[in-house]
Amino acid sequence: MIYALFIIVFIICIYTGRHYWFTLNRLFGFQRHPYIDIDTADWPPVTVLVAAHNEEKVIANILDALMTVKYPEDQMLVIPVNDRSTDRTREIIDKFVQDFPGRIQPFHRIGGKGGKAAALKDAMELVNTEVILIFDADYIPGAGLIKQLVAPFFDLEVGGVMGRVVPLNAGTNLLTRLLDLERSGGYQVDQQARMNLRLVPQHGGTVAGARLSALREIGGWNENSLTEDTDLTYRLLLNGWKTVYQNRSECYEEVPEVWPVRIKQIMRWAKGHNQAMMTYGLRLLLGKNHATLRERIDGTLLLGVYAMAPLTLVGWALALGVFYQGAAPLHGVIALLSLTAYAALGNLAAFFEIAAAARLDGTRKRISLLPFLILGFAVSIISVSRAAFSQVSDLVTGAEFHWDKTERFRKVL
């Protein structure tokens, strides 16, 4: 029991060190934004895919925004991927098609497998440009975003691009405010540090881009994946393509406003991530592939992030067991010092990252909400652990995953 506990503590310490490394790099290290200055070029043709399933509340906003972006009109085609919507999504899209002839080509999907990856896979039949951008329907791209997301593709190694996501409904309630802080830490520090350090920035599947030839090389979208973005990141990496992160390519999104929706969302992410871990973990770390050593290590750690929640719960249980067993894990003084050191530094690692992100974002007061993140952490650890355990039970019983669309909260136009 004690050795299992030691292994868990060791893994947790690795992740703690990783948090600090990323945060310190972001605060004091060399910042890589190699493509953001490309503002003049022969802009290539680009297809913008807008994934939409029952999006009557938000689809008009994104189509409006895309029609006003600063990208050569004759080089950009928007394809709203209307995936079996039963609300007014189709009607709204068709109205835009009429209003902007030649600039929007609708793809109304009426059957087939559920899920974003399956819908995108079907929509690829309409795509014939080398650069593809992907947005979820609740996003609102700014005027310069398309150029910023296309620019990295002038680099031949780049197979995928990811921009920064910023919650638009940040101030609605405690949940949205906590998600705002989490997003800040995740993008402003975590993703950018991985970009700086040439590790593995993660493709997010929205405010993102992909190179068609890279996508074809890796076999297209994986419709069996629960998180097509994580899946894409790793298949690109294994095939010698880089995913790059553009911190200054920001785009507004809508975050969940109620806890049940958030819990469903994070459970889906956890399952998808764990699925990718099982599929690609060993191949990435030990297999013959094009990834560098640091990409292999970071990529493996990234795959394991959602496994940390159940592992932590197991660690707590083991610690209790060891305590009641009366076993002394280490010499008393060493144990006390280690515990104190971890309490002082380890527990604060993730908060340190978020606090640094808030500072980099130039915000002040919102950081006061940091203690409430304990609440977010508690919900996450339980939800993610539930997801992991149900994934194992699904594996045994052969149950299929049911796709839950994230509910929207914007008012219908």
Binding site: D42, P45, A143, G144, A151, E157, G171, P371
Partner: protein, 358 residues
């Protein structure tokens, strides 16, 4: 002491200590003093002319005054809506120019001139200037920002702190420090020892005589970087050299240092994960990207964007982009020799420097 009371007191104290950090959190949650979404630039696409356009909008209201001043040859002073004092010149106003002529004087005025404007040497103009005609600046002047409807010429050792936009040509004498954004709708020409950060014009000439007609022939046989059909990507692990005069039809990714020897032509894009060196007369049909340092030239031609993540040096006679296909040349530190021509954007995030041709 009653043990129950002691336990209750202990629990209360622990609870209070636990609640302590939540007090500012609860206050912020209730007050929502920092609850707006993070500011994301939605309308401005990072356009280099953004400040110039905003300034033009800002002084739009002065247009009738300017017309009257030009017609009558008069000068008018006043205050803008934002509280800035301004002076509108209908002619090359001698008293004002005389006042400007006092060396090292600082003039906190927005100047709007409907005529040609010649600024004497050694003055500091700490507010924006609008010139409806030609703008000619003396030596060792300091400007905040200039918007010129015709040509702008800055004297030697001039310092610009924010931006300049010329509808006509922009030229600067040796030793100017051009911080911020410098743009022209026609041409930018910089002389030796000028430093710069961000330049944009259809044509940017470095030095007095850009030998463009004598440079390597345009890449007429090369596909453009904007082509939608991808060319074959060839990997080389470790350092690699393209031999002199060799023609490569495709894209190259080198995971190491790359050297392209004299006269070699690459009909595609190039990426090096370390240093990249283009020898005399080499040409690249697509983009040219180095994850570290890059040295180009002399007499090279690059069609697509040029990005060096650490440093970039461009030697005389090199051309980046074409008039029909402008491009971006970007690196934190750029050293560019006289005789280089860039069509589009030349952007040094930290330091750009014009050096004499060797």
């Amino acid at each position: 002491m009653n043990p129950y009371l002691a336990v209750a007191a202990l629990l209360l104290m622990v609870s209070l200590m636990f609640m302590l950090p939540l007090i500012p959190a609860l206050v912020e949650l209730r007050r929502k003093s920092d609850a707006l979404p993070l500011s994301v630039v939605q309308q401005n696409a990072g356009e280099i002319r953004h400040f110039a356009n905003s300034f033009r909008d800002c002084i739009k209201g002065l247009a009738p005054t300017l017309q009257r001043c030009v017609a009558g040859g008069t000068t008018v002073t006043g205050t803008l809506a934002d509280g800035e004092e301004y002076v509108v010149l209908g002619r090359a106003d001698e008293p004002l120019l005389h006042a400007l002529g006092q060396r090292d004087a600082v003039h906190p005025l927005v100047i709007t001139a409907g005529v040609d404007l010649t600024i004497p040497a050694g003055v500091t103009l700490s507010k924006e200037i609008y010139a409806g005609g030609q703008f000619i600046g003396g030596e060792k002047n300091n400007y905040r920002a200039i918007l010129g409807e015709k040509n702008i010429h800055l004297g030697a050792s001039t310092h610009v702190t924010r931006w300049v936009h010329a509808v006509g040509e922009f030229t600067s004498d040796p030793g100017c420090r051009l911080n911020g954004r410098i743009s022209s709708d026609a041409l930018i020409r910089l002389r030796t020892d000028c430093s710069f950060l961000r330049l944009n014009a259809p044509r940017i000439e470095i030095g007095s005589a850009a030998p463009i007609e004598n440079a390597t022939a345009p890449n007429s046989l090369l596909p453009t970087s904007g082509s939608s059909a991808p060319s074959k990507r060839v990997f080389h692990d470790g350092d690699f050299e393209v031999q002199a005069g060799e023609i490569i039809r495709g894209d190259i990714v080198v995971r190491g240092n790359l050297r392209v020897r004299s006269g070699a032509r690459i009909c595609g894009s190039v990426k090096s994960t370390k240093d990249l060196l283009l020898d005399d007369g080499a040409s690249v049909g697509g983009s040219l990207i180095s994850a570290r340092k890059m040295r180009i030239g002399p007499n090279c031609a690059v069609h697509g964007p040029v990005v060096a993540e650490r440093e970039l040096a461009i030697a005389a006679g090199t051309r980046c982009g074409t008039l029909e296909h402008p491009t971006t040349v970007s690196s934190p530190r750029i050293e560019v020799a006289e005789g280089v021509v860039v069509f589009g954007t030349l952007w040094a995030r930290e330091q750009g420097q014009v050096v004499a041709s060797q």
